[in-house]
């Protein structure tokens, strides 16, 4: 069942909500503002009563898949359980009501929280300092590359290229481009790892950095990482770590020890801040000491027991957004780290790897696996050989029909009909087994009744939507009937 838009439920004569009266002499805007500055027609917002509003959004919520509901096997997204206590923490008035420009002596707790979180994250990844400012992973990538750019410039070393594996997430090349770099693609070897010969061929004195994630996007550990780091550093370039896949490694090994110079993390993946239907996240960036001078301003310092924002950082790339970062997400991440501890985070990564290998093993006979086991926290299968020409997309829709979300499909680009599954450490064995059963059932259906599979999903508010038509003739907003 679909739902009317709020605009369609609106009634023109419904009065607005009760709000405080001014209580001082009321001014008409025209009394104090130039005529030309005034709005001509009031904004066409919907008019709904509060009961209608709450019902509207409750119904929309019910039309939506979420972790609350069931398993989210989205590879590369680390859709793990979001602890409810984190939400309580972030909404404490002592955090939620702080103005960013309050006097520093009135926000010592907030600064200490940032200080603690920076150190905890550094401990996990083995870096020296971190900026908590970037708002998401891509923003962190851009920030990291800007620092690398500034580092090279500072040494009078002009470097114009960033190397990115062909298996990389789209944000890597996009961030590099946004930073003014030329993007040079590095090929993957058949096992999904970086091709060392190709890397060597492409590294040179123009190379500013190589961006990698490890485990890589096919879920395999880059076992030659020390050699890779050596090659990169040998030409004077920096090694950048895309932390989206950190969930495999906590307490097991550290990017900092592998030779990475800059690391971004996705607190909304590894550190359980909720994904929120597409953010807000947080993408802290860690660096080795050498790059510290270039960190965004301000950083948090503690000159003599008192916390303060440090703006006196002449080599800094400056701020990368307003204020100090998505502070509310930082509160959630620290709450999680305190609850998990070093022991808990380590077990989490072990369990994430265990779950991925378990699901992979259980699907071994129904899907194709371009890479040999073991995987780390995720794996990529190929739906290329599904019966009757059924595709990864059909598998995905079949899963929706059976009460699961779909894996990431058609990424990474190096695997045809890619089906990328990341179970995370917070899904029970019973759930993983039910997922495997659903995949098997779909593969069987592809064999027995491909027509039916192709019609799925049928039990959701809508069936397969025509995305091609939607993009050809985009309708990106509602318009009042008259204006249509």
């Amino acid at each position: 069942m679909t739902e009317q838009l709020a605009f369609e439920k609106s009634r023109e004569s419904l009065p607005g909500p009760r709000l405080p009266a001014a209580g001082v002499p009321e001014l008409a805007p025209a009394q104090v503002l130039p005529k030309g500055a005034l709005r001509k027609t009031p904004p066409g917002l919907p008019r709904l009563s509060e009961p209608e509003l709450m019902r509207h959004f409750s119904r929309l919520g019910a039309m939506n898949y979420s972790i609350s509901k069931n398993f989210y096997p989205l590879g590369s997204c680390t859709m793990k359980y979001n602890p409810v206590v984190n939400e309580v923490a972030a909404s404490l008035p002592g955090f939620a009501l702080l103005h960013p420009y309050q006097p520093e002596e009135t926000v010592q707790g907030a600064l200490e929280l940032m200080w603690d979180l920076e150190r905890a994250l550094c401990a996990v990844v083995g870096m020296d300092r971190m900026s908590l400012q970037p708002a998401a992973g891509a923003h962190g990538e851009w920030t990291g590359l800007r620092m690398i750019q500034a580092f090279h410039e500072d040494r009078g070393d002009e470097r114009t290229e960033v190397l990115v594996p062909d298996s990389a997430h789209g944000t890597n090349p996009a961030s590099a481009a946004l930073c003014g770099f030329k993007v040079v693609e590095v090929k993957s070897a058949p096992d999904g790892r970086v091709s060392l010969p190709d890397l060597e061929a492409k590294l040179n004195e123009r190379t500013a950095a190589l961006m990698l994630t490890n485990p890589n996007t096919v879920g395999t550990f880059e076992k030659d990482i020390l050699e890779i780091a050596g090659l990169v550093h040998a030409v004077g370039a920096k090694l950048y770590y895309d932390g989206a896949n950190l969930n495999a490694l906590m307490g097991i090994c550290r990017p900092g020890d592998m030779g990475f110079d800059v690391v971004h993390l996705n607190l909304h993946k590894t550190f359980t801040t909720p994904h929120g239907g597409g953010g807000p996240g947080a993408g802290p960036v860690g660096v080795k000491a050498e790059l510290e001078p270039f960190l965004p301003t301000p950083t948090v310092a503690r000159p003599n027991g008192h916390f303060t924002f440090d703006y006196e950082r002449p080599k800094s790339i400056g701020r990368v957004r307003s204020f100090y970062g998505n502070f509310g997400m930082l509160v959630r991440a620290l709450t999680y780290i305190l609850a998990m501890g070093g022991d808990g985070l380590t077990q989490a990564s072990h369990d994430a790897v265990l779950a991925a290998n378990y699901v992979r093993q259980n699907l071994e006979d129904v899907l194709e696996f371009p890479q040999p086991p073991p995987c780390k926290h995720e794996f990529v299968a190929s739906a290329r050989n599904l019966p009757n020409g059924m595709k990864a997309l059909d598998l995905a829709k079949g899963l929706l029909e059976r009460g699961f979300y779909a894996p990431t499909i058609y990424f990474p680009l190096i695997v045809p009909e890619a089906v990328m599954v990341e179970p995370t450490e917070t899904e029970s064995k019973a759930t993983l087994d039910a997922f495997t059963d659903a995949v098997r059932e779909i593969v069987q259906l592809a064999h027995d009744d491909p027509e039916r599979l192709h019609r799925e999903p049928t039990s959701l508010p809508v069936g397969r939507l025509d995305e091609v038509a939607a993009a050809r003739n985009p309708v990106l907003r509602w318009r009042p009937a008259a204006a249509d």
Binding site: E3, P17, L19, P20, P34, G36, L38, P42, L45, R47, E50, L53, S58, R59, G61, K69, L98, Y101, T106, V107, Q108, Q149, S175, L178, G180, G251, I252, C253, N266, G276, G278, G279, P280, G281, G318, R319, R321, S322, F323, F327, G328, L338, G341, G342, V353, Q361, P373, P374, K397, K429, G463, L465, D466, E467, A470, A471, P474, L476, R477, W478
Partner: protein, 442 residues
């Protein structure tokens, strides 16, 4: 351990299925030299202990009362209807991913479609995107759109743009290799003549804030017209609440409208997460950064919504994408959607008009005090205004001591504004609070 789900038996059974005797075979491809003995963090705490620590950190911050907070500068205390967090705290929304699979994500997709529509209506522009990180990066993204669109490599910041937005913009410009010029008017607001003198044909965009950082109302129509006269785009960074009263960017012909949505139902939260919004004319739609939701139909003709025009985005276009943004600020956009639905046109007008009346009342009251005077007496304002004060630092410290978060010292960013303090009023500063402030400033 909290948030982990397996019993020892579950783990053993899973290992047995895999055919591994322990976790070691699964980690064997990690070079031994890289393995760490232990993660150097304390062991985990129980929930009450972890929250004890967190509460003690929160307790070391000072929370000023809503009614006694007169500091804005981009972040405001506003009434947040209880309905807003009641919606955004639903697990159905906040534990969802970006709605890649539309059939299972109609709730989110429709909410974003409603957000896009509301932002478009509020700004009177053709289309809006699904959100950006914040007001600062929204300005930067808009500038980059203009640079690409016009093929020019300079943007002009006209008048008092939020200093942190300008700094952010400069960072993006360094990367993308375009130049940021700026002109700060002597009179607090720009005149068309002043602007004209700065304009030339290499300028991709004129960027201005309305009301500007000082709270003063710019002549947006004139600025827009001047920009267009030189083939530049006009980018307006607007305060969404003020749009209930002030001409909308679409009304004066701006090409791109951006802004910070914190005031639409989001807590100050020490500066984030808030939400950037962006709207533009139809012609620019394929240059928009980030997610866009569009209408689509299924085989039975049922209306639904999907992520669309993805050929702009990083996951399809990679280095050729319009932006690198992926995760945006959807949940904050949802808060804004609920807020705008709660308010409707009347509510928005009421909030804005009450803030305006109170701010003018306060400005009058404060200006009567010895040592206080309007910094730019000829300029008009909505609900934030600059006063020139003798020793702002001392005054603000004294106010803080009395539980009042007084105005914002603009001299911190602008040497020419030493001694200028920006005071703001919202519907939460009741008349008695205004009197208390005036009294405390004596």
């Amino acid at each position: 351990m909290p948030y982990l789900v397996h019993s020892p038996e579950d783990r053993a059974a899973m290992l047995a299925t895999i055919g591994a005797a322990s976790m070691e075979p699964l980690l064997a491809d990690i070079p031994a030299s890289l393995r760490v003995r232990r993660l150097e963090l304390p062991d985990g705490l129980s929930e009450p202990e972890a929250m004890g620590r967190i509460r003690s950190l929160a307790g070391r911050n000072r929370v000023f009362e809503d009614r006694l907070t007169f500091r804005g500068g981009g972040v405001y205390r506003r009434f947040i209807p209880a309905a807003v967090p009641a919606v955004t705290s639903k697990g159905e929304f906040y534990t969802a991913y970006t709605p890649y699979q539309p059939e299972a994500s109609q709730g989110w997709l429709q909410a974003i479609f409603e957000f896009q529509t509301m932002i478009a209506q509020l700004t009177a522009m053709d289309v809006a995107n699904a959100s950006l990180y914040d007001g600062a990066t929204a300005v930067a993204e808009a500038a980059m759109m203009a640079v690409v669109h016009t093929g020019r490599d300079k943007v002009l910041v006209a008048g008092y743009l939020h200093p942190e937005y300008e700094e952010t913009l400069r960072g993006f410009a360094k990367g993308r290799k375009f130049h940021v010029l700026h002109h700060r008017p002597r009179g607090g607001v720009l005149t068309a003549e002043e602007l004209e003198a700065e304009l030339h044909d290499e300028i991709a965009a004129v960027i201005f804030q309305q009301p500007n950082f000082l709270g003063l109302v710019e002549d947006a129509s004139a600025l827009t017209a001047a920009a267009h006269a030189h083939g530049a785009l006009a980018i307006a960074s607007v305060d969404p609440i003020s749009l209930a009263l002030l001409a909308a960017p679409g009304e004066y012909g701006a090409d791109i409208a951006v802004g910070e949505g914190q005031q639409l139902g989001l807590a100050p939260s020490f500066g984030g997460p808030h939400v950037g919004f962006m709207a533009c004319r139809s012609e620019l739609v394929r240059r928009l950064p980030g997610r866009l939701v569009g209408q689509a139909f299924d085989g039975q003709g049922r209306r639904g919504f999907v992520l669309t025009l993805q050929a702009r985005e990083q996951h399809i276009r990679r280095e050729k994408a319009t932006s690198n943004i992926c995760t945006n600020h959807a949940l904050c956009a949802l808060a804004a959607t609920v807020y705008l639905t709660y308010m409707g046109p009347d509510g928005m007008h009421s909030i804005a008009a009450t803030s305006l009346s109170r701010a003018h009342h306060l400005a009058e009251g404060l200006s009567r005090l010895p040592g206080f005077q309007p910094a730019f007496p000829d300029a008009s304002f909505v609900n934030e205004f600059p006063l020139r004060i003798e020793k702002p630092g001392e005054l603000l410290a004294r106010l803080a001591g009395q539980g009042i978060l007084g105005g914002l010292d603009a001299g911190r960013w602008f040497p020419e504004l030493a001694g200028v303090v920006l005071f703001c009023c919202t519907e939460l500063n009741d008349p008695a609070a205004l009197d208390e402030l005036v009294e405390a400033c004596r």
